[in-house]
Each structure stands twice: as structure tokens, then as C-alpha cells.
Symmetry: C2
Subunit: 405 residues, 2 copies
């Protein structure tokens, strides 16, 4: 007998027949003698239409009240699932965020979980109930309803799994696992049977479509195995686990790309202490996230400095830097929106030399020029021309032996 947390996403509870399908899955798990806690999202599209409704009232709806509105989505599916399970003669009970004691900070719309007491969940499990918890929602210390941000139900699920010391947190969604690359770009991409938390965290652009990245950090902290799988098939999905859990290590587990990047270069910046601060402080104050920063070696007391920002913030950042360039006496400022970042990720590369050179050679072989490089312990990223993005993903996927047979 295990303690199993199952989380079902919006497409898995999109209508009453889907909810019945979910109820059957839960019943099966329960009948096998397991303790089952279910975390639900709102029906697909509901959260968006509630946001639209609030936006029809005012451009910037009050955040506390928007949370009260949005919380109805998960309340609806939780009640309907409990009604369905009860009608099948299973002992089920729904709990809202505050009833499940999902305690968060006061940051409405993007609250962070502080603590989950889960007293009621444990009591209900002891009486062999199936506990259905409304995902995405919690309450702050004053009892106000909060929500955990887009995809927050994943974090609800992992946090509740941690609180009740579950054996596994199963995340049911409309895809059947984590792939070595985006199958829409690389048709040889294959499903990974296992991946480490750190790889998952580094594969945000692949993984975020499947799993809220914050939930992975939570799972890592409390060492909760996540099993990502489809609610429409019986297939095994992908396990997201601790890298020391005896998993077979691939040198590279996945190839990702990100076209949402733009590059800004300041030419011939006087190389003096404090210059970098002058260049980046205004951008940080404007809330723009800088990803990669490259500074060339100095030549004649001058240096070139290049960095990347999200596409949406490119114009704002460029205008800022043009002003700054004048102030600090830099020669010129260039911008380029037609770039992309490709990355290879794998915990195995820690112990394998030659991963970087293999990546560079593979790209060179197809005449893909590398504009910027950044590396971390388990990831190497290159900035290239945007038009080569798909080609680069396929080339790297093959070069690192990820293609399916």
C-alpha cells in the first residue's frame, strides 16, 4: 500500500465525461489498497475566461478579489469529482485550499506556499477517504484566498505530497511525459523514462509546458518523486527524481531552444570599475530579466559588452542603453532580435569531458555560427541566428545519440 498524490490538469477535467474518466482512474488506484489524494485544476479554459470577465470590469482588477474569483474554477471541478466518486459509492470528500490548510504568503496572484498542515487530509485518509483538494489555491495567515500563479496546481500537488509524505506525486496531463526535444521540432525526439530534478529545472522551455517549474524545486527540496503521465492512456510517463536515486545517467538528456531572446551589444565601453552597474541597474529597475552576459577581453582600455533580454522587452532595453552609452562614453549600441538560444542539458556532463566541443563541432558542421556561449554545471547554451533554431535542435539531438530507433 502506498500514499499516492494524483494531480489532474485542466484538459483532464474539461467536462463531465472527462471527470468520470478521472474518477475511474482514482477508483482503480484506491481499489489497489492505496491512500489517494487528488489535486485538481479548473476545467480547461475556465481560468482564462474568469480573467477575461474581470478584465471586462477594469484593466487592472484588484488582486485579492481576482483570487477570490479564480478560486471558483478549482472549487467547481473538486465538487464535481467528489460528487462523481460518491455516486460510484467511493468515500470521497473535497477540500478547498483553506480547508486543506495550504498556507501561503500574501502575494495575491502568485503566492508562495509557506506551510501545509494537512491535518484534515490526514484525518480523512485515516478513515480511508479519497481526498479531493482544489489546486492552485491557498490562504494567507489572515484567511484571505490566494492563488499560486499559472500552473500552480502542480505546486499544490507536490507540496501536499511533501506534507503527507506521499510515495509519489503523479501529474496527469495531456502529454505523456518529458521528451528529449520538442517533438514538433524534432520528430526523432523520444520520451525519457526518467530525468533528474536539476535537468528538469534546466529544461524550463521544454518542461514548463508540462509542469510548473516551481513545483520541481519543491519536489527536489522534499525529495518527492514526480511521475508525469497522460490521463488519456495507460502508458508509463516520465519519472522526475533525485539524481542520486540510481537512475541511469545519459550524458545529455535533452535539447531545448528558446526563440524569445534578443541581443544588445555596447561597443567599446570604457573598462572602468562601476561601468557594469551603470549598464544593468536601470534595466533591473525596469523589471527586465537579463539572461546571458558576455564581456570581451579588453583592448586599449575598451571592451565590448553583449547581453540578452526577452523579445518583449527588447525595445525598452535598447532605448535605455542608447542613453546610457552616451553617458558612459561607449562607441555605439547594436540590437538584434533575430537570435535564439539552443541548449543541451544533462547531469551526466558533469563527469564527461568533451560535451562542449562536441556541441560546437556539430553546429559548425552545418555552418551554424555561434554568437554567444554560456555554461552551467549541467547545461551548455549557445546563441545562434534564429533561422537555424530547428536545424540546430535536430543536429544536436542526433550528435548526442538521443534519436529514437
Amino acid at each position: 500500500m502506498s500514499v499516492i498524490v494524483q494531480k489532474y490538469g485542466g484538459t483532464s477535467v474539461a467536462d463531465l465525461s472527462q471527470i468520470r474518466n478521472v474518477a475511474n482512474r482514482i477508483a482503480k488506484t484506491y481499489d489497489q489498497g492505496n491512500d489517494v489524494v487528488v489535486i485538481l485544476s479548473a476545467m480547461a479554459g475556465i481560468t482564462d475566461s474568469l480573467i477575461d470577465m474581470a478584465s471586462d470590469v477594469t484593466k487592472s482588477p484588484d488582486k485579492r478579489e481576482l483570487d477570490v474569483l479564480l478560486a471558483t474554477g478549482e472549487q467547481t471541478t473538486s465538487a464535481l469529482l467528489a460528487i462523481t466518486l460518491k455516486s460510484m459509492n467511493y468515500p470521497a470528500q473535497s477540500l478547498l485550499g483553506h480547508q486543506a490548510e495550504v498556507l501561503t504568503d500574501q502575494c495575491h496572484g502568485n503566492a508562495r506556499i509557506i506551510d501545509i498542515r494537512a491535518k484534515k487530509i490526514k484525518e480523512l485518509l485515516e478513515k480511508r477517504n479519497i481526498v479531493v483538494v482544489a489546486g492552485f489555491q491557498g490562504c494567507d495567515p489572515e484567511g484571505n484566498i490566494t492563488t499560486l500563479g499559472r500552473g500552480g496546481s502542480d505546486t499544490s500537488a507536490v507540496a501536499i505530497a511533501a506534507a503527507i509524505k506521499a510515495d509519489v506525486c503523479e501529474i496527469y496531463t495531456d502529454v505523456d511525459g518529458i521528451y528529449t526535444a520538442d517533438p514538433n521540432i524534432c520528430d526523432k525526439a523520444r520520451k525519457l523514462s526518467v530525468i533528474s530534478y536539476d535537468e528538469m529545472l534546466n529544461m524550463a522551455s521544454l518542461g514548463a509546458k508540462v509542469l510548473q517549474i516551481r513545483s520541481v524545486g519543491f519536489a527536489k527540496k522534499f525529495n518527492i518523486p514526480i511521475h508525469v503521465k497522460s490521463s488519456f492512456t495507460e502508458e508509463e510517463g516520465t519519472m522526475v527524481v533525485n539524481e542520486n536515486s540510481g537512475m541511469e545517467r545519459l550524458v545529455v538528456s535533452g535539447v531545448t531552444c528558446d526563440k524569445n531572446q534578443a541581443r544588445i551589444t555596447l561597443k567599446k565601453v570604457p573598462d572602468q570599475p562601476g561601468i557594469a552597474a551603470k549598464i544593468f541597474t536601470p534595466i533591473a529597475q525596469a523589471g527586465i530579466v537579463v539572461d546571458m552576459i558576455i564581456q570581451n577581453t579588453r583592448a586599449g582600455g575598451k571592451t565590448d559588452l553583449t547581453f540578452t533580454v526577452p523579445n518583449a522587452e527588447f525595445r525598452t532595453a535598447l532605448d535605455m542603453e542608447k542613453k546610457i552609452a552616451k553617458e558612459i562614453g561607449a562607441d555605439d549600441v547594436f540590437g538584434d532580435e533575430n537570435i535564439a538560444k539552443v541548449s543541451v542539458i544533462g547531469v551526466g556532463m558533469k563527469d564527461h569531458s568533451g560535451v562542449a566541443s562536441k556541441m560546437f563541432s556539430a553546429l559548425a558542421q552545418d555552418n551554424i555560427n555561434i554568437m554567444m556561449i554560456s555554461t552551467s554545471e549541467i547545461r551548455i547554451s549557445c546563441v545562434i541566428e534564429e533561422k537555424y533554431t530547428e536545424l540546430a535542435v535536430r543536429v544536436l539531438h542526433t550528435a548526442f545519440g538521443l534519436d529514437k530507433e
Copy 2:
């Protein structure tokens, strides 16, 4: 400065433009320096469609979970109204049933209010907030969501008004007050400016369309004046108050009718102790509500016994009584669905003799035969043939001087 509770029904918050209309009314009351607590229903039709959704899952949805589902309706309107008020720069905050501490018993679907602590409401009012409370919902001592039954938001409003010692509880609806008769039947019906709690309680068939009758009992107990008015006009409505509050007493305040009645007669019942119990116990056990009971004077050790039941339960009750008649040795059982009850109501009749005889004469003048009569302190009811219902209402309305000029 007054403490004012305003309750808006489903048609008053049916869409975003109606909600804005409501927000403007609230803002005006607030700007006059009053403390305002607002109780909201769900958008018109929403509660029914949620019930339909649950019924699509199963014929008898779990009552606890149905309450969780239904509670989303008032949560939605409360959040939207608070968002609207905030966007107009008014300090507003929504509270759900459990946040407003509306404590009820555990009778899901038709819970009764045990206590309202209203600590949070009072705190928010002290800081000059407009408090928006989701009506219809409460929570039981274990923290489960409960609902107060059809029209329960009226009871929420009056109970909260009592808890915060409000000066008045304004009930906004789609009619502009309580009338001396149903205007659809009697075109001379006029709006009452004032009516007593007891009259209102006796005018269920008129009043229930406007106000949940349970809320009137609450208002009477805590002496909270209710002001029933339309949210679509600026007109004064009808005040429902204590009869000792100096109101001018009409002998008769209203004429009501009820076609939802059927009559069952047992002929020549042996007049022995315990017979009445044998006749009525099975019906009570089947949950059928008996309204009027008439027993003729005894003749030859036998008596006739007649009673009325709601139309919907007529067939069930008739079949039961046919079996019972055989067991107790009654001669025969008759049923009649084509009857109606007309009543005149007025606290003034306590002090005026001749009301009954005036009623009987008025009906006789138009050849309307009276089949049964029952009286209470402030009401006289007659059962008549159903086809005379509308005529009877008009005749009595004129006879008691209620016609508008």
C-alpha cells in the same frame, strides 16, 4: 450615519452592467456617510445550472459536495462586485460565508444559521470598508461549506444585519415592494408602504416570490426593519417592521391565493380515540405537509374528516388514505384537485370584529361556495373551487377597501 445592509438578488447582478449599476447604488449610500455591508446572490440562473450540472452526474448528488459546487455562484458575484467597487476607488473587500463567520448547522442544502460572529465584518467597517458578503452560504462547526436553501441570501442578509446591529436591511429585487394582492390577478392591487412581520409571514404565497419567508422570522426575532425595493428604480419600496412600531394598521393588508392545494375527505370515520393518528401518521412519515384539517361534528358515532395537501403529493396521499380507510372501517375516500385557498391577512383584524362575516358575504355575493374555513389571529382562509380563484381575490380586494384609487 447609519449601518445599512443591502442585499441584491440574482436579477440585480445578472451581468457585469447590472453589477456596475449595483456598485453605483452602493457607492451613493457609502458617500452619504453610511456603513455599508452588501450581501449578494448568484447571477440569475446560475444556481439552477450548477444543480443541472450535478444532476447530469447523478440523480442524487452528495449534499455536502453540492453545497461546495453551489457556493461558487455567490463567490463569483461577490468577487466581481468587489473588483468593480475597487476600480471605482472605493475601499471594498469580499468575504465568503466562512470568512464572515456565518455559522450554521450541518444540514447541507437547507442549513440553519446558528450564530454569526461577524468579527471580520466589524473590523472592516471600522476601517470604513464596504464589505461584500457572499450570501446563501455558511459553514458548519467543522468548517464544511453549507447553503441556506432557495432564497437563502435573504436570510444571510437579515442575520448579518442582526449580528452587526444594522439600522435597516434593504432587500433589492426585481419587484418594487409587497402588494396587497398579486398584480397579475388583481390589477387594482397597490404597493404597501409598510407591513408587519406577522402579516408578511402569513402572506407566504405573495411574499415568498419577493423574500425568503425564513428571513422574516429572523427579522422579527431580532427586530430588524426590512426594506424591500427594486434595484432598477429609485422608488421607495415596502418596509417590513414590528407591528408595534407605530405603523398605521389596516384591518386587512392583503389578499392571497394558493392553487397548489388538493383536498381529501374520509367519509363516516368511526369516531374513536386514536383514529386521527392512524389517518395522519403515515402521511407525515411520507414527508407530506398537511395544511388544513376539518372534522365535522359527530353523527351516529361517525364523523367526516377533510384535509388539504399540496397538489404534487395528492396522488400519494390519496392512495395511502384508501388503504387506511379500509383498515379503520371508514365508508369511503374522496379526492378533489380542483380547489384553491384564498386568504385575507391583517394585524388589524385582531381588534376588528366582522372580518370573517365580511369575507363570507363578499364571496357569497358572487356565488362562490366556501368548502372549508380556517382562521388564525391575523388571517382567515377559505377553500373554494379553483375556477373562482381570481374572481375571489378581486372581490375580497374590493370588499376590504384595498383597491387603489
